[in-house]
């Protein structure tokens, strides 16, 4: 280290600052500068890769933590009081004593913070010291370094299954296609593999990569947190620019998969990486209860001031009433007595110090502790644990647990939230002909809503049907079997579920749902097309049926990962993970290693049909003697699972045993799709023999039913975006050499782009394809299917080439790249030719109807917001029992504002009439509203929103269809602000993020669509059904617990402080305490602090079963809830009453006696302890062992500590001297008599009130509790 002048250091710092702030950064390789001093390094201004997430450092912990803590107003208040106590004229206690409570509380907080910070420090150190390989010029190879040593401009080599240490620009991959697969689960939770492509045009990528020869400049944008966006270009020495985007960026924290090794150039390091920029820690929200609480703290402040004023005024009167200067009036040190008015002014402040605990100092800390406990119980609830994904409920916002108990409006997304988001190909329409796929319907579950809500009577069992010996390829098909609704069997099956992890007792989640049984008619169509066109290669692909399936197989971004070895970690972790979450479907494909007799050419399609027949036969047979056949299968499944932990390989294991003569090479095809729809379509294509075998950035390999592998050259992929609502793939057909654009997308976005009907060689009757298809699409929508249109376009070579050039320019553009890319896409996607349409079913998640009914019964308005068509949405609405047959359903869909206003007024009138109708008086109104996006926009306009909100207030459920993410959040905000209600939004996808953030409580479902929703949420659950317990049970509990705890806390402090206050009337308002200071402080800090915390964590007013069975009980927490103006003031009044009793009974009993100060105070203190604890005892609804231990422990602690203190402290705390007081008192029967009387009289009214209320007018909660018995 050489010495550098401070000026140079400052200059460097400024330069560094400027370099970091700049919009564009130019980065060059570090290698030429290796070994040189820091000042010469070109990238020295950028942050290093070492991270530090700790808040404090060892030296500065104390001042920084104190600074942090003093940000809290409450802490400041108490420190202020403690300082006040150091001023001699106003002090009430020994100055040091007054510091104890605040010190204890701040110490506790500091310990907590310190521990958390230490944990962060440890994890930082671990991360920083993770090894990685960085190229070194000196050693001419990659050498092992630590993560923290990686700098911008370094070349880092990552190998398979290794975590990327910094944001790397991918320069080389061992994959021959220059692809590197990345798993971003650590970053966004998405488990499907993503492809990253080597920056093209940087020399021969495949011949290995020489970092030393890298002499280009990388120009990239300033770091930002957007995970899906990155702009950069590489400027070669010859000034040629190559664009690079997120497609070439390996993000820190991701795992490299399926790629042997890759080399990247570090563009961002450390805290500038996208992963770190996204890491914002947990969110802080203020709950409604806490806001109310602050109001009440303010009331307490007023009360305190009033009491202090009374004290000051009383002191003045007292001084004035004295005729002379009695000997008990102590002048100041100069022997001078202040005038009464000044003395009473001082007394005001002394009183504040004396009565300070009226403002509950420990309340805030206690609330935090209670919430920690509540969150512990929520996250540990086994009912909220999802076995398939091995995930618990996550509480991301730590301080709004009680808001869950006050929800009045639930806004839910549909896809992925109510439904599985596990798409199953159900029906399709090709060239205007509908293929209903009846077999699929059979294996599917009954779709009537009633069936959904009942306990699943069926279990799906996997069964390997059999293995067809085929000449060219061998297939094994796994078919579903419906087992009988036998409860005994069901119990057994649950056990077997343990063995075969993927078997869920709910059939919805069975991976085999993705299996498509081909439609016979369509199969015949295809085989006919195949056979007719099979010989004439040039013409073959013109058959629209074949084209349709080719489009399904090609037009997507599904990644095929064939090698399983690279994902070992995943497979070991959880089998179902692979098969369900990532749609990895293992096709057991035995390769064509056939015996010589294979010349016997048979069409695989025939094989299929025969297979289907056989499968059907198997079904029949199996149903007859299922008792015989099933159990062995379970056993075999068990053993196989033990054997290789991969259920899906079952079939391939069977294969060799049956075909011992053939050499079998098993290959598993794993499809990883970004959206489940795509996966479903690929499976569908596969079922018809069009198998997607491989996908690289430049090519797609598809196996045709004939067994022939076609390699399509992919010229470009026009990815999906929510504006276009479609995606396209431009390929070159290997046989016809045509440039073909396959486009699929939402029907309304496709239909308007259609050009002339398909080929000219079709007769006029078929020109109605579009109309027919549209009709089918509408039918699908009515069934609740998701629809997609598939189109094709043949592009001439010249158009194609010019377009490609334009496209390339757009992609390299640094500015408005998105718009340009979008424009080019729109340019090409015109004059499409309709091939057909598909209907994909998105099944409801299990127990969704049940949950929605429960939420509705709980008095919660349920809104479902979906992007689907109204028909689809309404259908799903009925299926999930959002809408009921007997409901009054209002349908609002209008084109312009005038009609919208009219409809709104009309329906409002109708709703009012409906409500006022005496016939409906007794019944709860069940009005539902269905509204579409356009109408919603109009209804939201300022002049109509009042009426709209008024209308929705009467609606139990609202279904909004065709809404955009922005509308979703706007609706939530509208309802939240206009109605002043507690809202909850639940969703699973990126499109729900706005809504989740807008609501009071945001719930993310960690589902198929990545983790953006979860990242934005306050709570993350894995299934919609968990919402029921989370809201109805945990929400209710958390709310009642915390509400009652807070009320109790206020009561406790007021009751205790008032004892001191009443005494002021008998000591000339001189702020004397009749209790030793230490004991007084201990009283609040130790003797009575744990019971309320325990109460807030453990108390259980009504059991889980009752809360779930009687959702109406949830209404007690809604709106004002249990913690409101009334309950607060009742508690305060009760506190006044109890303190009066606890003070005046001893006062009257000791009147005119020789009682001394502390002897008088001891029974008061003890009576207050018992009263305060037993008051809680009345409030506690269920006494567990924990309750007993803490309650009895508190009493024991009081006596032990007080006895020990009064026995040992002779002169330790002058002038207060409680020596032997309690011992003396405990030897006196009067003590017990007084304490007993005080406690009984103090609690009698509350007790009697509870008893009378419970008998005369039992609350719903009490009736709920009685149900428990």
């Amino acid at each position: 280290m050489t010495w550098r002048s401070p000026l140079a250091l400052v200059r460097d710092a400024l330069q560094g600052q400027r370099a970091r702030e700049r919009e564009l950064r130019s980065l060059v390789s570090n290698l030429p500068y290796e070994g040189q001093e820091k000042g010469k390094q070109p990238n020295r201004f950028f942050l290093s890769n070492a991270i530090k997430t700790t808040k404090y450092s060892l030296l500065l912990f104390l001042p920084m933590n104190l600074y942090e803590q003093f940000h809290r107003l409450a802490n400041l208040y108490f420190v202020g009081l403690a300082i006040l106590n150091f001023i001699p004229v106003v002090n009430a206690f020994q100055p040091e004593v007054a510091l104890i409570p605040i010190c204890v509380i701040m110490l506790l907080t500091a310990l907590k913070d310190g521990w958390e910070d230490f944990r962060r420090y440890q994890s930082d150190r671990k991360v920083n010291n993770t090894p990685c390989f960085v190229y070194s010029r000196r050693e001419k190879q990659y050498v092992e370094r630590r993560w923290k040593d990686v700098r911008v401009g370094d070349f880092v080599r990552v190998v398979s299954n290794e975590i990327v240490p910094a944001d790397l620009l991918l320069l080389y991959s061992s994959d021959p296609n220059g692809v590197c697969h990345l798993e971003t689960a650590n970053l966004d939770g998405e488990t499907n593999l993503k492809q990253r492509i080597v920056v093209s045009g940087l020399g021969a990528a495949n011949l290995g990569f020489e970092p030393e020869s890298f002499n280009s400049t990388v120009v990239c944008e300033r770091p930002n947190s957007n995970l899906n966006h990155f702009k950069c270009f590489v400027e070669k020495p010859d000034k040629d620019k190559v664009g690079a985007s997120i497609e070439s960026l390996l993000l820190r924290g991701c795992t490299v998969r399926n790629t042997n090794h890759a080399v990247g150039f570090v563009v961002y390091a450390g805290h500038e990486t996208k992963a770190m920029l996204n890491n914002n820690g947990s969110r802080y929200k203020r709950s409604k209860l806490e806001q109310k609480l602050n109001v009440d703290v303010f009331f307490c402040l007023i009360l305190l001031f009033a009491m202090c004023l009374i004290g000051a005024f009383g002191h003045y009167l007292w001084l004035e009433s004295l005729p002379g200067v009695p000997s008990f009036l102590v002048p100041d040190s100069n022997g001078h007595l202040d005038v009464p008015s000044l003395e009473s002014f001082y007394m005001f402040f002394t009183m504040i110090i004396l009565l300070q605990i009226l403002i509950p100092i420990s309340l805030y800390v206690s609330i935090e502790l209670v919430k920690v406990g509540q969150i512990f119980f929520i996250t540990n609830d086994i009912d909220l644990y999802d076995e398939e994904t091995d995930s618990r409920v996550q509480c991301r916002a730590l301080n709004i647990t009680e808001d869950l108990g006050q929800i009045e409006y639930v806004f839910s997304d549909k896809t992925g939230t109510l439904t599985e988001n596990k798409m199953v190909f159900r029906r399709c329409s090709v060239m205007g002909t509908e293929y209903p796929h009846k077999e699929n319907g059979k294996s599917a579950f009954p779709t009537s809503p009633q069936q959904y809500s009942s306990v699943m009577p069926f279990t799906v069992m996997l069964k390997s049907v059999g293995h067809q010996q085929l000449p060219r390829s061998r297939w094994s098909l796994e078919a579903e079997d419906i087992s009988p609704p036998d409860t005994q069997r069901h119990g057994r099956r649950r056990k077997s579920k343990v063995a075969a992890n993927a078997h869920s007792d709910a059939a919805f989640s069975s991976p085999l749902e993705t299996e498509v049984i081909p439609d016979q008619k369509l199969l015949q169509q295809i085989s006919r097309a195949e056979s007719s066109g099979g010989r004439r290669d040039g013409n073959r692909s013109f058959d629209p049926h074949l084209d349709f399936f080719l489009a399904l197989a090609i037009c997507n971004t599904v990644v095929v990962s064939a090698e399983n070895a690279h994902r070992q970690r995943l497979i070991i972790k959880c089998v179902s993970y692979c098969s369900i979450v990532t749609f990895c479907y293992a096709v057991t494909l035995t390769q064509e290693c056939t015996s010589p007799q294979s010349s016997q050419m048979r069409n695989p399609l025939e094989t299929f049909s025969s297979l289907v027949k056989k499968a059907g036969a198997f079904f029949q047979r199996d149903k007859r003697n299922r008792t015989l056949s099933e159990d062995p299968v379970i056993d075999s499944a068990k053993t196989e699972d033990e054997a290789d932990a991969n259920r899906l390989r079952t079939c391939s294991l069977h294969a060799p045993s049956q075909n011992g003569s053939t050499i079998v090479e098993a290959e598993e095809l794993c499809y990883e799709a970004e959206s489940p729809d795509e996966a479903a379509l690929v499976y569908a294509a596969r079922a018809y023999g069009f198998i997607l075998l491989a996908r690289t950035p430049d090519s797609v390999t598809v196996r045709l039913p004939s067994g022939e592998d076609l390699v399509f050259e992919v010229l470009d992929t026009l990815t999906f975006d929510s504006n276009r609502k479609r995606m396209s793939v431009l390929v070159r057909h290997p046989v016809t050499k045509d440039y073909v654009l396959y486009t699929k997308g939402a029907d309304y976005s496709i239909m308007e782009l259609l050009g002339t009907p398909y080929a000219e060689n079709f007769s006029g009757t078929e020109k109605n394809i579009a109309a027919d298809t549209q009709y089918h699409l509408d039918c699908y929508a009515k069934e609740g299917l998701r629809t997609l249109c598939i189109t094709k376009k043949v592009v001439s070579e010249s158009t194609c080439q010019s377009w490609l050039g334009e496209r390339k320019r757009a992609q390299a553009a640094m500015e408005c790249r998105e718009e340009l890319i979008m424009q080019t896409a729109v340019q090409l996607e015109t004059n499409l030719t309709l091939l057909g349409a598909t209907g994909i079913e998105d099944r409801l998640q299990e127990k969704v109807p049940d949950t929605i009914v429960a939420l509705r019964e709980a008095g919660i308005h349920v809104w479902v917001l979906t992007g689907d068509k109204p028909e689809t949405a309404v259908n799903i609405g009925y299926a999930c029992r959002l809408l009921e047959e007997e409901d009054l359903v209002i349908n609002m869909s209008c084109k312009n504002k005038v009609t919208c206003t009219a409809i709104l007024d009309c329906t409002l009138e109708e709703v009012r009439r409906y409500r006022d109708d005496p016939r409906n008086a007794g019944t709860t109104q069940n009005i539902s509203l269905v509204i579409d996006g356009n109408t919603l926009d109009m209804a939201k306009s300022p002049d109509l929103q009042e009426r709209f909100v008024e209308l929705t207030k009467h609606c139990r459920s609202v279904l909004c269809c065709r809404v955009t993410p922005l509308q979703k959040s706007a609706v939530v905000k509208l309802v939240r602000e206009k109605l002043k209600v507690m809202t909850l939004a639940v969703g699973d996808g990126a499109n729900d993020v706005n809504m989740i953030q807008a609501a009071d409580v945001g719930i993310g479902i960690s589902g198929q669509e990545g983790m953006q929703a979860v990242m934005a949420s306050d709570f993350a659950i894995s299934r919609f059904k968990h919402l029921k317990k989370l809201v109805l049970v945990h929400g209710h509990w958390c709310y009642t617990r915390l509400a009652n705890m807070i009320i109790y806390f206020f009561y406790k402090n007021v009751a205790y402080v008032n004892l001191l206050f009443w005494y002021q009337f008998f000591c000339g308002f001189t702020a004397t305490t009749m209790i030793d200071y230490w004991l007084m402080i201990f009283f609040n800090l130790f003797f009575t602090s744990t019971p309320p915390i325990m109460f807030g964590i453990f108390d259980k007013d009504v059991s889980v079963e009752v809360l779930q069975g009687v959702p109406e009980l949830y209404r007690t927490g809604q709106g004002k809830g249990e913690y409101n103006f009334l309950t607060f003031w009742i508690a305060i009044l009760d506190a006044f009453y109890q303190s009066l009793v606890c003070f005046f009974i001893p006062y009257l009993a000791y009147q005119d006696s020789d009682v001394d100060l502390f002897t008088f105070g001891t029974p008061l203190n003890t009576a207050a302890l018992f009263t305060i604890l037993l008051h809680l005892g009345i409030e506690i609804k269920s006494w567990t062992l924990v309750h007993w231990i803490i309650m009895l422990g508190s009493v024991a602690l009081y006596f032990i500590v007080t006895l020990a203190y009064t026995a040992t402290c002779v002169t330790c705390n002058p002038p207060s001297n409680p020596y032997w007081i309690l011992q003396n008192q405990m030897a006196d029967p009067m003590f017990y008599l007084i304490v007993t009387l005080c406690t009984v009289v103090a609690l009698l009214p509350r007790y009697t009130f509870h008893v009378l209320k419970n008998s005369v007018a039992p609350s719903p909660l009490l009736q709920g509790r009685q149900l428990d018995r």
Binding site: S321, P323, G324, P326, S327, F328, L329, V330, P331, D332, S333, F377, N380, D381, I382, Y385, E387, D390, R392, V498, C574, K638, E642, F1066, G1068, T1070, A1071, M1074, K1100, L1148, A1149, Y1150, D1152, S1153, D1154, V1155, D1156, L1157, F1160, I1178, S1182, W1183, T1184, L1185, H1187, V1210, T1211, P1215, Y1219, N1224, I1234, L1237, V1241, L1244, Y1247, H1250, V1251, L1252, N1254, V1256
Partner: protein
């Protein structure tokens, strides 16, 4: 198999009664049917205790003599404004035997010994016999720390300075002859005060310990001369001093002066005429106070106080009444529900 499963899913919450909030619990529901017997029981017990307390309190005899002398007829009227040493005497008669042991109290009203600064104005370490605090008393004692010549005051502070200094003698008129009733000044203070909290410095003679210190300004004689007859009743462990130093909780209080346990009066004060002679020193007009002498005998519950007994009886009766109310409520609502 099951074990393997558990290993596999590490994230699964523990299925224990505690984490699942299913700990066995006692869930009392407060309703009329349960509390009726409870109320009855409490009522009966309280009435019993109350009656016992009331009877005990009734049996306690009490004789109060106000000797402030506000009234011009009063024999002590002359001493009220007199700053000189003044003695006055009052006569009273006891109609029946005043059962012993009789406690002799002096009482003050409107005297705020519980004034905060007053109570803090003492030096515990000094009173513990620590000589370091003789020369430099705690500032708590201000302004009674040093006298005008800057000599430290021992015992310092307002509390000690304002010590009650009236003295009394009681004489029984037997056949026209005044017979002094012996007053026992031993054991009137707390045992812990006498033995632990207060100590004389271990210097003999005691007077030497107080070299270089001054007596409190209001005191006629220094602390080591409070009782020259008895070494164990002198200095800081003087019983009268200890009694005074134990602050009264309320402004109207009495403090034990002597007990009558000796000679003929061990069984109590016989009926007859008595004369109380008062050395009237302590000024009370500055706080509108009254001074009195109280003769009382004590029971297990202390002095005479009817309040507690009455309170117990009232609360007990209320409980019984409540139980009847509960019964009505129970009959009206519970039975209606059952039908």
């Amino acid at each position: 198999m099951v074990k393997e499963e558990q290993e596999e899913s590490s994230n699964r919450p523990d299925n224990t009664a505690f984490t699942q909030q299913r700990l066995p619990a006692w869930q009392p529901i407060l309703s009329a049917s349960i509390v009726i017997p409870m109320f009855l029981l409490i009522g009966a017990a309280f009435i019993g205790v109350g009656v016992a307390l009331f009877i005990t309190s009734r049996d306690i005899q009490l004789q109060e003599l106000d000797y402030t002398g506000d009234d011009s007829e009063h024999p002590c009227f002359k001493c009220r404004t007199n700053t000189e040493k003044c003695t006055c005497s009052m006569t009273f008669s006891i109609p029946t035997l005043f059962k012993g042991p009789v406690f002799f109290y002096y009482g003050l009203t409107n005297y705020f010994q519980n004034q905060r600064k007053y109570g803090a104005s003492k030096d515990d370490n000094q009173l513990y016999g620590d000589l370091n605090y003789f020369t430099s008393p705690s500032t708590d004692c201000d302004p009674y720390t040093r006298d005008s010549k800057n000599m430290p005051i021992v015992p310092c502070g307002a509390l000690a300075n304002s010590m009650f200094n009236d003295t009394f003698t009681l004489s029984h008129t037997v056949n026209g002859v005044q017979k002094i009733v012996p007053l026992d000044g031993k054991g009137i203070a707390w045992w812990t005060d006498y033995n632990i909290k207060y100590r004389n410095p271990s210097i003999t003679p005691l007077i030497n310990a107080f070299n270089g210190t001054k007596k409190p300004t209001n005191w006629p004689k220094p602390i080591y001369e409070l009782d020259t007859t008895d070494v164990y009743n002198n200095g800081f462990i003087n019983q009268d001093f200890l009694v005074w130093m134990r602050r009264a909780a309320l402004p109207d209080f009495r403090k034990l002066y002597r007990r009558i346990t000796h000679d003929d009066y061990a069984a109590g004060l016989p009926a007859g005429n008595y004369t109380l002679t008062i050395a009237y020193n302590y000024p009370v007009h500055s706080f509108n106070g009254k001074k009195k002498v109280v003769l009382s005998n004590v029971s297990w519950m202390g002095g005479k106080n009817d309040f507690l007994g009455i309170a117990y009886i009232v609360v007990g009766s209320m409980c019984v009444v409540m139980s009847v109310v509960m019964l009505i409520v129970y009959a009206r609502f519970k039975f209606a529900e059952d039908v």
